[in-house]
């Protein structure tokens, strides 16, 4: 049927144009990008932490893409220089994000390098930022009478600390924090 043929051919053409512009051309442009020398591949623990970041859906509230002065005041908030494509060569899946219910995390490792701050903040964000609406993640921690050998006891502000016993971090929490600390792209932007 003539019109049926035109329909399918036309529809596939517009689809091909869209795919070329948004998928194929960007692929050709970034395929051979080299990582900046200061950017290190993620360690195994950091990758496990990245899996936690994905599985808990952090990306729905946090971007990882500081933007330039033409798009806002990210640098003035201490979030860093505008990111470029080469900053992401080790990132799969990408975690650029589309919401800033919370702050940008592209350089959170440089901004908050303390493991204890990060752990405590995951355990109860409101102990650190009273008006925050970040979810608490108590299921990444264990409440014990006392810590066993090799366990990481979380140092908590008095308001969040339990009356008896201690809060220890599960491996998932430690992995996640190692990933957050790895988010440090404070090196100068590579020339593209």
């Amino acid at each position: 049927m003539d019109s049926g043929f035109k329909l399918i051919a036309g529809a596939l053409t517009t689809m091909a144009l869209a795919t070329s512009a948004l998928v194929v051309l960007p692929y050709l442009q970034v395929r051979d990008l080299e990582a900046p020398p200061e950017l290190k591949p993620y360690t195994e623990q950091e990758l496990r932490g990245r899996e936690q970041y994905i599985s808990l859906g952090c990306v729905y509230c946090h971007t990882q893409q500081p933007r330039g002065v033409e798009s806002g005041v990210d640098a003035l908030r201490g979030w860093g220089r505008p990111s470029v494509a080469a900053d992401y060569v080790y990132d799969s899946p990408h975690l650029l994000g589309t919401m800033r219910t919370g702050p940008d995390l592209f350089n959170i490792g440089a901004r908050q390098p303390s493991v204890d701050w990060q752990l405590g903040h995951l355990y109860q964000p409101r102990a650190y930022v009273a008006e925050s609406n970040m979810p608490a993640f108590p299921f990444l921690f264990e409440h014990k009478l006392e810590a066993e050998e090799g366990e990481h006891v979380v140092q908590l502000p008095p308001s969040a600390a339990p009356d008896v016993g201690v809060i220890v971090a599960k491996p998932e929490a430690l992995d996640l924090v190692q990933y957050l600390l790895a988010l440090d792209r404070t090196y100068p932007a590579p020339i593209e």
């Binding site: 036309g10 998928v23 051309l25 729905y60 993640f137």
Partner: protein
Amino acid sequence: MNISAILVSTYVISILGLFVFIWSLRKGGGQSRPNGGRVIFEPGEVGRIEDPAADSGERDALQAVSDAGNAHAHQPGKADLAVRFEADRSTRAPVLLLLGTATLWLLIGSVFGLISSIKLHEPDWLTDVAWLTFGRTRTLHLNAVAYGWTALAALGVVTWMLPRLLRTPLRGSMFTYAGTLLWNIGLGVGLYCVANGISDGMEWLEIPWQVGVLFAIGGAMIGVPLVLMLPRARVDHLYVSVWYIGAALFWFPILYLVAKIPGLHVGVEQATMNWWYGHNVLGYFFTPVALASVYYFLPKVIGRPIQSYDLSLLGFWTLAFFYGQVGAHHLVGGPIPVWLVTLSIVQSVMMVIPVIAFSVNQHQTMRGHFAALKHSPTLRFVLFGAMMYTVASVQGAMEALRTINNVTHFTHFTVAHAHLGLYGFVAMVLFGAAYFALPRVLDVEWPKRRLIDLHFGLVLAGFAIYIVTLSIGGWLQGLALLDPARSFIESVTLTYPYLQGRSLGGLLMTFGHFVFAYHFGLMVLARLRRPAPIAQAQAEVMHG
């Protein structure tokens, strides 16, 4: 020659090609098919209203509105509706399965949406287990309403409309059953994965590819009957709804498969691909199916063919061309090639063309018939949806502009916009279509006509509260984010009252969905209790 120059010339050539192509589809001069819109009416049927969701009093009132608005009033008793009766009968069971499962996902998706909304202002609520954390409930909500309710309902409405549009009974219904089954399995397993933290990590594409591939296979299978029916179509040309449906059924499996090729996409290319998919699943699947429904149900309810065949042609092909390339506006200011963002902004603004073509056409068709809204439950949902399409699209075009995008990007304003399109437009049209189709599917009338009004009232109020509060809150959030004198946390705390407002809106919408599901359930029970004899059903079709 640099890449921008190549792109600019490609762009100009493509646009010229597009309009030459559209011109070539016209035959002769002037209005190419003055009677193009009549193909959805049987001979002698123009001027006769149809709304199976209305009661008999409303149908009479509706007919009176139609008679007053149409130059040539219908002549009762002349139309032979046997072809349509056969078409309707052929789709009953598969459409019931599609719409039934869609409605169950709607309830699940709504509950997770409500939970997620409340969590944004009550962050210590339900934090003890991982599967109830915000990042998962939000994802469960999106996937259940998008791939569960919206997609399955859309496929159900498509399956129901096609035999009517082609004037031939459904063929290959086994493909529809199997596809529906695969799709539901994919979604059930996919949601289980997401709840347990197994995710591919990209918005709209969270369900792991090993499971999500069932959407592509199932979707393609549900498209097979169209291919089988086309050669047997008893129409002199394909109605505009068939173009939208045909294209959408081809587009979706390709989109999903390309997006999910494992190991291919990398770095920021993955981000552009993500939004190529994320926006095209709207533009190349949900939108065309909902538009196809408006083009069918609106003229059918008021008994008047669509005003302009040429406008619908223009609207379809410009949508197909422009909509595909808008996705990168989700990455304005981001670390992706500048030409790509510019292209997407240009195409987003060009989307005004198909939107105006559609809106003008619908308005011209409705002119003189707006009183029909009082008497037709279907029309109320469908026309509201059509209006929200215009609003959402114009808003989307504006939102892509850099000055406005700087404020709205990364804020709740975008979330409100998404609901304006996917709920206000697509879901509302699908509700209207379901109210129209289900009495034909089940062979019984809606048991409690007032529940349709209750459903409409609840979701309309909820939706209005949702959109107004979240848009204002998101805009203020965006202004705060741009003001270096204000701390970041201010951009969070100022949204709290608006987020609470959104929860109230979401609660009302959820109530509305339960009313719809309850009414649907009552209808199935009514059908089970007194199976209607075929002859009686035929009589109802003839006089409905």
